[in-house]
Symmetry: C2
C-alpha cells in the first residue's frame, strides 16, 4: 500500500489502444489540458501527474457501450476492454472524499477517447482514516445494542411504506416489538412527511418500543429515516436520541457522502445507510462505479449498516453481485471499519439458506417486508419463520425437512415459496 | 401546474407493456411492496399513491439497454420505449430535495420490469420555492459584480490545473487580471491541496486581483474552488469573502445537492457550480437523469453558474445536448431562479460564432483554458481574441473576415483553428 498515492482501478473500453486510453485518464485527471500551456514543466508533471500503474487487456467488442466515443483514423472496428490501474499523488487533493471524487471520477466519464468507463476499486492511504473515523458501531456495536448474537439481525420494513398515521404506525411497531422482532426500519420513501411529522413519529414509536421492552425485556432497534437537508440531519438525529432511539437511517445518495460524514461527526447511534438511487450509478456495466469501490467510501464516511439488495430479489442485480457486496462490506478497511450488510428485497425465510450458502456468514441484517408482515399467521409467525430459516441454513438441514416440525416455517413456504 | 403533486417524466424501456411498466414505477415509489400487506387500504392508496398521468409510446428495440431485465412469458422479443409521466403527492415527502430524490429516483433504476429508465424532467410545486431560495446572484448579479454587460463573461481556468505554487499562481492571476480578463476559475482538481492551502491561495490571489484592479479599474472575478466537507464549506467561503473575493466554486456532485443548499444558506457571493462526475449519471442514454431535470435541482439548491460543456468540446456530449442545456439553465423556474450557463472545454475564439448561432444569447460565461492562455501572443491577446470572436458572432461577420483586421484573432485561428 502506497501511503502517498491513491490507487484507482478502472474497467475501460476504447477504440484506441488501452495504453492511449490510460494515458488520457491520467492526463485529464492531473496536469493535462487539450493543448500545452506555459508552466507545465517536466518537474511539475513528475510531482503531480497521475501514473498508469498497470494495464490488463480483456475482451474486444464490435459495438461501443456508450455513445459519443471517437475512433482513430483507420479504426479496425474493435473496441478494446481492459483493467487499468492509475495512481494519483495524495498531495494533489489531500484526504478529502469530495475532492477525491473530483480526481478519480471527475470528467473521466465524458471523455471521447472512452466508450466505457467504470471505477472498480479504490485503494486509499491511511491519511483518509485519520480524517474520517468510519463506523462507530458497525457489526459489533449493532449486536450489542440489539442483544442479538450468533444469527442475523432479523427485521422488517414498515409496510405500507407510505400513509400510516402516527397512531397506526406505533400500534404496528408495538405489536411487532412484542412479537420479538430485532429491528424495524422506515421505508426510504418515508422520512419526515407533512402528514406524519418525524417528531410525532419518534415520540409515538419510541413509546411503543419502550412499553414492549418493559414487557419482553428486549428493546427493538428502530431505524428512523432522518434523511433531509443539512440542518435537519442534526435536528432529526437529536430527536431520535433524546427519545431513546438506537438507530438513524439515511438515504446516502440523497445526502451525499459529505452529508454522511457530517452526520457521523456527532451521531450517537448506528447509521443505517440506504442506497436508493444507487442503480443510476451502477446498472450500466461499462459506466459508473462498482459497489466494491463505493462501499469503501460509505464506510469511511461512517455507515454502520449498508444495503446490498438480497438474493433472488425483485431487482436486476445478479446473486453473484449481491454476494460480492456482502463480502466487501465486512472485509477490513484500514484494519477495521466494518459495516453490517443489509440484505433486503423480496426476502423471506426461504431466502436464508441460499444467502448462508453463498456467504457463509450470519453477520448480516436480513430484512423482510411483506415476507414477514404478510405471513398467514401474522408478523410474529413471520419473524419466527425467518429465525427457523436461518437455523436450518446454519445446521445444513433442508428447509422442507425443518419445516415439517415447524408450522410457521411450513406456512411461510406455502405462502412465499411458489414464486 | 399542480400545486399538490410533483410530476416526473421518464423515458422507459421494458419487455412488458408500457402500461405495466408505468404501474410498476408508480407502485414501487409509493404504496407498493411485492405482496399485499395488511393496512394497504384503498383509501390509503388513493391519498398516497403515485399516479400514471400519461404514456406516449416511442420506438421498439430488439436488445435491452440495461442488464438484468425480466421478460414476460411468451415475450415477443421486443423492448418497448415510451415517455411516461407519473405524479406523486407532495405530502408523501414535502418540499425536500433529498426526499424528493428518494421518491422520483429511489429504487426505480433497479427494477427488473425495466430495461431502461431515464428521468427526463421534473415539475415542482411552489412549495419548493418557499423552502429553497435559489440563486442569489444569477445572471444579473454576476454581471453587476464583474461590470460586464452585453457580451459573455469571458474567462479562463488556471492551467496547469495542478501543481502551481501560491506564488506562481498569484503571479499568473495578476498578469491575467491586468490583461483585462473578466473571470478566472480554479480547476475542479484543485481545491485545498496540502501543497498550496486554500487560505494561502486566497490571500495571495486576492492581493494580486486587488492590485490589478487598482491599476485597471476593473476587478476580476476569481472562483475559488472551496469543495470540501460540510465544515470546510463555511470556513472556506468565509476565507474568500473576508479577502474580498467575489465567487466560490463547488463540485456539485462532490458535495451533493444538500451541500449546495447548505452553502446557499449563508453564501455572500455567487456559487459557481461545476458538474464533474455528471457523466456517470447521464452518458448511458437509457439510464440516469437528463440535464433538463438535474439543472432545476441545482438552481433550486442555489447554483448561480452551471457548467454545461461547450460546442465541439473534448467531451462525448453532442452539440444539440449542450445547446439544450444552455437554454434550460436560463429558462425561468418559479418565475426566476436563472443560472448563468458556463460554456467550457476546448473553447477558443472560434467556438464563439457556433455557440451564438445555436443559442442566440450572450448570457453565458465562456471559458477557455489553453484556448486563451496558450495564445501565441500571450493571454492578453488570447482574451482579446475571444472578445473579437463574440463581436464577429453578434454582428454576423464571418470570423476570417473579421480576423483580417484583428491580428490577435488571426493568430488564434492559426493556432487553434486547424483541429
Amino acid at each position: 500500500m502506497k501511503q502517498d498515492r491513491v490507487t484507482a482501478v478502472y474497467l475501460v473500453e476504447t477504440a484506441y489502444s488501452l495504453e492511449r486510453a490510460a494515458a488520457s485518464i491520467a492526463g485529464e485527471q492531473s496536469t493535462g489540458t487539450f493543448t500545452a500551456v506555459p508552466g507545465e514543466t517536466d518537474d511539475l508533471k513528475q510531482r503531480h501527474g497521475a501514473r498508469v500503474e498497470s494495464i490488463e487487456a480483456l475482451e474486444e467488442t464490435d459495438t461501443p457501450s456508450l455513445p459519443g466515443a471517437k475512433t482513430p483514423p483507420g479504426h479496425d472496428g474493435k473496441y478494446r476492454r481492459g483493467r487499468v490501474t492509475v495512481s494519483f499523488p495524495l498531495h494533489n487533493f489531500g484526504p478529502s472524499i469530495p475532492n477525491l471524487m473530483s480526481a478519480v471520477a471527475g470528467n473521466l466519464y465524458e471523455l471521447q477517447e472512452l466508450s466505457g468507463l467504470r471505477l472498480l476499486d479504490l485503494e486509499l492511504p491511511d491519511a483518509f482514516a485519520s480524517r474520517y473515523t468510519g463506523p462507530k458501531f458497525g457489526i459489533e456495536g449493532t449486536r450489542k445494542l440489539t442483544g442479538v448474537y450468533d444469527r442475523p439481525i432479523l427485521g422488517t420494513i414498515v409496510k405500507p411504506s407510505i400513509g400510516l398515521t402516527t397512531g397506526e404506525l406505533s400500534d404496528l411497531v408495538g405489536k411487532l416489538a412484542r412479537a420479538g422482532m430485532d429491528f424495524i426500519k422506515d421505508d426510504e420513501l418515508n422520512a419526515n412527511p407533512p402528514y406524519a411529522p418525524l417528531a410525532d413519529k419518534v415520540e409515538a414509536v419510541m413509546a411503543a418500543v419502550e412499553r414492549a421492552a418493559d414487557a419482553t425485556g428486549k428493546k427493538l432497534m428502530y431505524a428512523f429515516n432522518i434523511t433531509g437537508d443539512y440542518d435537519e440531519l442534526r435536528r432529526n438525529h437529536d430527536l431520535v436520541v433524546k427519545a431513546g432511539g438506537t438507530c438513524v437511517m439515511v438515504s446516502i445518495l440523497s445526502i451525499g457522502l459529505s452529508g454522511l460524514a457530517y452526520l457521523n461527526q456527532f451521531s450517537e447511534v448506528p447509521i443505517h445507510g440506504h442506497r436508493n438511487q444507487w442503480g443510476m450509478l451502477t446498472r450500466s456495466p461499462l459506466l459508473g462505479i462498482e459497489f466494491t469501490a463505493y462501499q469503501k467510501l460509505c464506510r469511511l464516511a461512517g455507515a454502520d449498516h449498508l444495503h446490498v439488495n438480497g438474493l433472488n430479489s425483485k431487482f436486476y442485480e445478479s446473486n453473484e453481485s449481491v454476494v460480492r457486496s456482502i463480502a466487501a462490506c465486512s472485509a477490513p478497511l484500514f484494519g477495521g471499519y466494518k459495516a453490517m450488510p443489509v440484505v433486503s428485497s423480496a426476502q423471506w425465510a426461504g431466502t436464508a439458506p441460499a444467502t448462508y450458502a453463498a456467504t457463509g456468514t450470519v453477520d448480516v441484517m436480513h430484512l423482510a417486508g411483506g415476507g414477514m408482515l404478510a405471513h398467514p399467521d401474522g408478523p410474529a409467525a413471520g419473524f419466527e419463520s425467518m429465525k427457523l430459516g436461518w437455523e436450518a441454513a446454519v445446521q445444513g438441514i433442508p428447509l422442507d425437512i425443518y419445516a415439517a416440525q415447524h408450522p410457521s416455517l411450513q406456512k411461510a413456504i406455502e405462502k412465499y415459496g411458489k414464486g
